[in-house]
Amino acid sequence: MPTGEFLGFLNLSWQAVVMLIIGGILVWLGIAKKVEPVLLVPIGFGCILANIPLGGAVEEGGFLAVLREAGIHTEIFPLLIFIAIGAMIDFEPFLQRPYTILLGAAAQFGIFGTFFLAYLLGDGWLHVLDFSLQDAASIGIIGSADGPTSIYVATILQSKYTAAIVVAAYSYMAMVPIIQPPIIKAMCSKEERALKMSSAVGTISQRTKILFPIITVLVVGLLAPKATPLIGCLMFGNLLRECGVVERLSLAAQNELANIVTILLGITVGGMMSGTEFLRPETILVFILGIVAFSLDTVAGVLLGKLMYVLSGRKVNPMIGACGISAFPMSSRVVQKLGLEANPYNHLLMHAAGANVAGQIASVVAGGVMLMLVPMFI
């Protein structure tokens, strides 16, 4: 009897075993350590499903392959997630402090710095790794600290490392509280960290909140058209939230849509982690470069924060520059905590949140700019 054809364990390769262990670890991290459980549990489980030999989940016609084709290759999942994110984000802290958008812009340097580094290691100079210009750009986009943007850009640029990039982007968001504090402490003195910022901010009218998503789409769409689908979905979700007449749709976007697409996206991303696709030396480099991207984001944001600190006559706490990274709300919490450590009366949360949601817009623009520039230089 040809048992090898239907007994999965007889067809286990070492790659499949390693990936089954990795899938198990992701599920364990989510459940036992509560590390981004909403993402890591579906991703880990999808990884397990994808690596069961003869399971067929990721083969042509298998359900994970169908989901990948329908949701990732068409870019639908990241765009739907953006509608949900837009409906969940309150942009008021940013609208009260619009200058924080510049911190968001500076913090996107991590994307471009990492892109440059990856390209130097690959086809650009050293040829040590198999990184084309498109791969390098997709790896750099991990620095957007934004899972949907990473998926969107890596898919359109057809990177070979999409699965690793997406897993890195999502898992590093959970590691922001580990990556950012040492960099911020190294760059800001205790005196700077203890600086209190004025809590007197203007009130934002309802009309401004409604016009903001529409104006943002027009400005960004007309200047960086490749970012239109991403910024369009983000701002559409926000318009549902702020317009005040479609509460049902806003709640559906924040809850049902967010939950359903997170489940489908998570399990599909996990399904992309098949051993043969995932286990190569470049994957490890993708993860290392992901840390570089997050670190460069933080450094660039804090540097502009320090410039604002000087130019404003010490009214801006330079730490809030670190929140230009769009890892919302983890980054804001990190800065709030560091501020309180340096001065127990220093509450920076709303200032940090302003920079953080500004970083969300900036990362989407950065994704669009990358999509616009890379094809021009291939």
Partner: protein
């Protein structure tokens, strides 16, 4: 390698330009649409 350098320089320049324009528009909008006194009291 020069291509990549151009992408870095142009990329950062475009991001600052786009977001700088957005900032200018938002500041203008904030000045034009100051909340009415009633709305302020509510807020």
């Amino acid at each position: 390698m020069l291509n990549a350098l151009w992408i870095v320089l142009l990329g950062m320049a475009i991001i600052f330009a786009v977001l700088g324009i957005l900032l200018a528009v938002m500041i203008l909008l904030g000045k034009l649409l100051r909340p009415r006194k009633k709305e302020e009291k509510k807020g």
